[in-house]
Symmetry: D2
Subunit: 334 residues, 4 copies
């Protein structure tokens, strides 16, 4: 680790949510970074190391009091909706911005010009653009797994006409740290249910946007159903992909290895299947592709698991900053 | 409750597994039944009420020692494979048999003649045959939910050509009570994964068999993926059904209410979605049908939840015996 | 079950908390009772059977709108502090009152005269007084287990001079259904901690009050430390009691069986130890007394387990009403 | 990190249990160590990195095939009873040994001479001896927390005559990875119970031995009751210590800070209380001392939490090796 004074100062907006705390923890462990400020409206004044063990002993501050111009980069872990105006300030202050909210992930008509320049921070797809970016829209947790799980098939034109069905389940940290009855232990333990049913979850726009970029014309339709798991962390997506032609198990694995064989944070399983236990605590996306027997038209099941707070949020954000700084992509992430 | 001596004596083979214990518990609470014997190879000699609170204070016996001829009916909770020869003895002894194993659920060429006469014990589909049956093949936990969830669509010819995708998750009691590493708390807690991947789970034959009966020619293809949930009890199935024509939410609910409106153990939700918490501890199957937006060809999501040990096993077995005896179907189940 | 019209109407104040819902569930299943009204400030208007499956299809009402004079008895599941003024109204309306809050459990100087007449509703100690009572203070969850666990020793003068140490752990429903961060799944799962440390929990006054009544002069001192368990329901108390003389395992069991042998809801274990799994879902208190080896002065460990929502709250409340009505004490509770 | 070839080779006996895997994980992340061999009788031949992500891609071997003479140190994670003869071989081969079993922790008459020389590996008490040791008996999980929690009081003669009561609860990894019914998810979830009741747990000898060393004559008596928690990792001990004189909260904290203020792996809390969530994943022991109100004779409650697999096992083992090698004690542990 370098001398303290040579560490690059970065800031974290919204440091006390599950994502924010994970962000602080990762920065603290990174050999080239230090947390220069961390904001919290509700816990301003409290020492940061009371919230994240091992973090600097600095008081958290209100976002208004953050000296954006004194840091090299800022991670915004603010809620969707609130994040965009802060990202604007970050950019004006000349710092690099990595926005973990959904605000910049999909370009819309209402978006201001500056916001349209944000690069979608999925390194496995946009590594070069990220390296040159000043502003990164960090992907959502569900989209990270879904997009990477189907990208190799989509970009090869292997996906048939029927919809791709993404059946997903997430641990409860995905719902945030605000106290809500549904997420009380006594409600969520020994329980399991779908939510946002009807193919209406807001992450769909983000997934569709990316699939369109990959597919060009006639992108596959997507169906997405999230479920709430009685675990703290982790996402598993079970994805059913209609194919235009049969793929053997070996053939399918070959496709994924071709695309991801060199990726430090994507693991392609040839035997075994992804599980939460296999990825929680790591920045990995673990993928297995399994041809389905007993159907007359080829159908591939792709299983993808990740830690929703790491590869699905803070870990990927740090992976992006590593790229933006020209550092080794895995720095502070293994 | 009737006088003890007027209670109908029944036996339970394999009383110490999760299903067997639930069976004993239900019989104990039934106003017209009493447990005459309960077998366990590993715990023979131990009082039954040490295993199930409130059960009779009789010693468990080895299956060999069971007086099959002295009871009116026998529930076999023995493992798949071992059950069939015991069911044969039950029938020879003149007792009614309800087999909770998979051995009799699907008629195969190798099956002896007597076994082919078993009625598939899904009351919502075969109530009349069950009432006349001497031998019932009690449905599997996953098939109970899956078949009832799609039957209204299948029998109306509403299902399109693409496969019906059944994405299912079960609590860990579904894996039985034998100690296996995968089901240790330290392995299963905070974990989630698919198993029996590739569309090869043995419950598929049972599902397909029933769907063929309902559909007549050109039954829909089925895809089934089970997952292991870190909960003790409960199954949720998220089922994607391609339709030959659009169904509105109201229309879909109407179809299900037409078929199940009078069913004591099927609940059709018009708002809200099924959850494990809503059904565990009951004999209910809770269903909601949700049309999916954003797809060009009509697709209906059917969610179905049940307690795997009740409607998925012992509860349904008792529902079947009630029918076989001509009693109120809900006796001892509410 | 009797004809609907012959069922005794009772009311529940505060029907949507964990205790209130359990109360409604128990009344619904009781062969002689019916829920005439159930109140909820936050969910008034919503059908009661949306909150408790199987309950009457009546809308919940605001407490202000409850017709207290039209019911035979009212269970108050309102929060501590708020309950007392409602109990006063109940009494004025001529209905019997069972108060599940802490408001009437300990007589204090500030208490109005009418409130001092409340009988402490621990049937195993005060069965006769409860039978004659118009107003019952239903014991707290921790005190129920603690008092019954040590009563046989205290009333026999067997407790030595050192403090009785009550180390207790409760499931999270004990903390109520209001959303608070500490009780979110993501905070409470895989966690365990003491709370209210320093021997200052408010249940201590209630325990001490009862121990004084049992002991006469020189009651034993009590030390009480509660912990928060990552389970939904259940309390286990591990209690260390200094004795004035040695008690063998058999002798200790004999003492407990002498006092509780005929009790329908106290189970004295001679082998094995109480566990949450053994009592959750029942109205039982399960007790084992274990002499401790390797100490020079006799020390008895008493383990006591109960379901905090049943014997620790709603189940005991119903047991009390059964007594007040002169019914079989176990009616609706087995 | 140093060049691969300059890393010190160490071996792990019994690498596939929970402790063994944690040991491999820690060594893999240590900047000065590499795993030269890892043994498993049941999984010999399987690549080590299939069991521990990130570990070297070497096949696990049977213990018989381990080249003990080619490594600098060996960690034995073998079961109690089996470990001692392997430790003897380790010593004969000239390697340093750190034995994580209970075999060498307490000197007994039957012990061979060489075994008596093992140093008890609790760095906070025996740092200097460990630094010079060739053989270390790594403390048990419960004793580590208990001994460090009371040592400051014991060595100051502050403990009174009544027994010290240690009420402890451990996560399920403490029970090992062999499949046993009691530790199945469906048995252990939503459950809590005491075990080894009666003050007979084998860890008592180890605790008593250490307390005697600290106290000199008239060591305090110990009472120890372990409980099984439905979590994967972590131990919390709630300890009641009779004092010879009153200690204020500040005074108590002062005593602990005097002893542990400089310790890298002991945290003394002045406000708040230790929780599993605060320590799991770290090598910390977190302690708080709370004077108890309302008792006539001074009584101090000491709460102590640790990760049973880290400070309670593998983490402490590595801390010991760091000391034995003369490295920074925290190397590879933060």
């Amino acid at each position: 680790m370098m001398h303290e004074s040579s560490l690059l100062p970065v800031g974290v907006l919204g440091a006390t949510g599950y994502t924010g705390r994970e962000m602080v923890r990762l920065i603290t462990g990174h050999p080239r970074l230090r947390v220069a400020f961390a904001t919290s409206e509700s816990e301003a004044g409290k020492p940061l190391n009371r919230v994240v063990r091992g973090a600097p002993d600095i008081p958290m501050i209100r976002a208004e009091d953050a000296r954006l111009e004194e840091v090299e980069a800022v991670f915004s872990c603010l809620p969707h909706g609130a994040s965009m105006r802060w990202v604007e300030r970050i950019r004006r202050a000349g710092a690099r911005g990595i926005d973990l909210s959904a605000d910049l992930r999909v370009v819309t008509e209402e978006m201001p010009e500056w916001a349209r320049g944000a690069v979608y921070g999925l390194p496995e797809l946009y590594r070069d653009q990220i390296a040159d970016a000043e502003l990164v829209a960090n992907p959502g947790c569900y989209p990270t797994a879904a997009i990477l799980a189907i990208a190799p098939l989509v970009r090869r034109g292997l996906v048939g006409e029927a919809p791709v069905v993404i059946d997903a389940a997430s641990g409860i940290t995905g719902a945030g740290r605000s106290p809500k009855r549904d997420f009380l232990f006594a409600e969520a333990a020994e329980n399991f249910r779908a939510y946002a049913v009807g193919n209406v979850h807001r992450h769909l726009a983000e997934m569709r946007d990316q699939v369109e970029r990959l597919a060009g014309e006639r992108p596959p339709e997507l169906v997405f159903t999230p479920h709430l798991l009685p675990v703290r962390r982790g996402i598993l997506e079970t994805i059913y992909v209609p194919l235009v032609e049969e793929l053997s198990a070996t053939g399918a694995a070959g496709v994924y290895e071709e695309d991801y064989g060199e990726e430090p944070f994507v693991e392609v399983l040839r035997d075994g299947t992804p599980s939460l236990a296999g990825v929680v605590g790591t920045n990995l996306l673990s993928i297995a592709a399994v041809p389905l027997a007993g159907v007359s038209s080829p159908l591939l099941m792709v299983l993808a698991a990740e830690d929703n707070l790491l590869k699905g949020a803070a870990g990927q954000a740090l992976q992006n900053l590593n790229l933006m700084q020209g550092w080794r992509e895995t720095e502070g992430l293994t």
